[in-house]
Symmetry: D2
Subunit: 233 residues, 4 copies
């Protein structure tokens, strides 16, 4: 079983699925992590080389459990993409504080658990990549993102601390700052009046992650920002 | 009881005590929050207008409880300084993951609880200040700060979201980025060979916070950075 | 003549005049640099301890010339505030390229000339301050500020390079990022419909600069940001 | 003549040549701008589809002149890469001030001239790319880069103002922040004791620029950072 392995957390209908397709097409065997078993089953059917593993990434024990399964089924992932995300909308006075805490568990602690579990094999192999999909909330606190932005900022800084440590070990950590609304059924519904060019395409995000994962190691990016050409920023 | 009230969380021997002195001297009645009762008792003796309230700021119920006591004893704080901090040293592989989580509860969730409990009265009064003492970890992830820096980044972005919301309500939120080692007994011991000018003085930090709290409202600072003149940055 | 000396470039009706008043009131003898002789004469009449020196700060020879006069008349400045500014409005396609170049000469080269001429005496005295008044253009390129923002970005980075070099020599360099429209006759005219709180007061900016110049040297700020409480940012 | 045209300024032995090769291999006809005619002649011999145009990019008239030649010889460039750079080493007290000014003319004014001359055709075509090669000096002022960093900061902010304006017109502006020493004969000589992995390869930079130029327009990067895997940052 010599195909490289790519693990993707948070395989929803958008970026996660597009990533699964891109890495499958690129010759990877793909391990999909999500809490939703039905979604995993559907993707397994669509992508013959992908395999789903039900998992809540905010739980280190569950990650450890599926990691063992993945290693037995497929082998050690050389690419781990933390795409699972807990979100929220509301000011600091509107949200239930437990929301901020929950998002921290998924977004930041989840990254820590994944990196602790999977980086040792990458370090041994002197290669590998850990990619985190984030957005501008990681850099800026807008009032209505009080229950979310802090956890993305924490996630980005954790990724940066990991990048500095893992880089010299041959393991590439990168953080994607997506500065746009992703093109999904529900966002199309919510932003009905916006033109096509308002949205960033999941496929384009996946393509960029594929590129970053395969950058020449003399020229790695940590911070990767993406926005549609028409975006006002 | 017409003296203004200042609440300070995390009253250790450094910045917290210096803040307590500065605001006491400036005519405030000061409420001190800390888990260590002995320390609170000692400070109460030293500062006649300060009153200690044992409290773990990572626990919303405890905050709510002491808030009621403070309001009864002193009145509503017009200044809240979140100086309590959970720290750690170690790379993401070295730390126990629970450390990162614990620091998030104290540093970020604690800020959220304090702000939710005390900002409504400030909004009603159309004035007040919430100040958070942070450091460069909030902006940069160094490998050995993996268990700490993410929580300061989260704290800073939460403060920013609050600042944008509370500013137009007359409530000033500011974040101090202290880019230096604070001058304390234990840091002097640890950095024995460093000259005086290597350290930032708690008294100078307190003076700066006093200044920020009293800035003309046509010219407020959110991000406030401080470093000793000799610091290489 | 034991009063400290403060040099201010760009003494217009706003920040420059407010600075002249604040430092005069604080016991400084003030040297005012501006190209407009009538304005200098008016300020000299108003502030008895201030003295005007006609000077185009984009011309190193003129700076050298007035510097000698100031040293003879008043002594060596311990505080230099570069407040002169060349501005412009227009996209990169709309502006005359010579505008960008001209603004660079005033904003950035002017700072270099002032710092080269006045910092040696500060270094010898092991104290002093060089303050630059800037704004958010230094951090962000908006389309209509293409003829201006690049020169403020250059100015800020030059100030930063100077700060790192002069700090350990006891000379404090700071950069003010004013994130607001300054309250002046012409801005009131232009933003007629805005409430008082939309504007930042020149007096408040001057007060802040006074504060920064006199910070304890164990706790200096380089980047100083100011905005009105009601500003949306 | 249906091949797309790529213009590259500053074609030295490093990034410029690597870019010329990459775009030639990718099917572009390449126009090379440099002051050194011998170098241009050598590259023309090596790359049959590349054509050299002697030009000092700090001179708008020269740019206008060669632009007309290029349009006549090859057509309108859809890709313009501003790689010409004026550098310097020294603190603000050590450098000759004219150095800072000269670097501004090449790095920042040169970009303005190129963009003004070539963007109108791109806007008409609703596509094209303007890429600027920069480095961390654009973000940080170190003492010894006082004659250089300010001009890169200016260049980056000018590029940002252009990006925001040109993006909605279908023209992609991106800024490369190279955080490393480029692998060249003279840098190898200067950093003799460093291992291979200390250096960033010109070929890898060229590959990244090729990628950015061809990003899907729903997912463009403005800021692109690159560093070798072993870089401590």
């Amino acid at each position: 079983m010599s195909a490289p392995i790519c693990l993707i957390s948070g395989v929803g209908p958008g970026t996660g699925s597009a990533l699964a397709k891109r890495f499958t097409e690129g010759g990877y065997r793909v391990a999909l992590l999500a809490r939703n078993e039905a979604r995993l089953a559907a993707l397994e059917k669509e992508l013959v080389t992908a395999k789903g593993y039900p998992c809540d990434v905010s739980d280190a024990a569950q990650i450890d459990h599926v990691a063992s399964q993945i290693e037995r089924d497929l082998g050690s992932p050389s690419v781990v993409i933390h795409n699972a995300v807990g979100g929220a909308f509301g000011t600091f006075r509107e949200i239930d504080p437990s929301i901020l805490n929950r998002n921290f568990q998924v977004n930041t602690m989840g990254l820590l658990y994944l990196a602790r579990r999977f980086s040792p094999a990458m370090i041994d192999a002197k290669k590998g990549a850990i990619i985190v999909t984030g957005n501008t909330s990681a850099l800026r606190g807008k009032p209505s993102f009080a229950g979310f932005a802090p956890t993305k900022a924490a996630q980005r800084i954790l990724a940066e601390a990991m990048a500095r440590e893992l880089g010299p070990n041959g393991v590439h950590v990168a953080y994607l700052v997506v500065d746009a609304v992703i093109d999904l059924a529900w966002t199309r519904e919510r932003f009905k009046d916006r033109p096509d060019e308002f949205f960033i395409k999941p496929k384009a995000i996946a393509e960029e992650i594929w590129h970053v994962v395969h950058q020449d190691r003399s020229a790695w990016s940590f911070n990767v920002e993406l926005r549609p050409f028409g975006e006002t920023w």
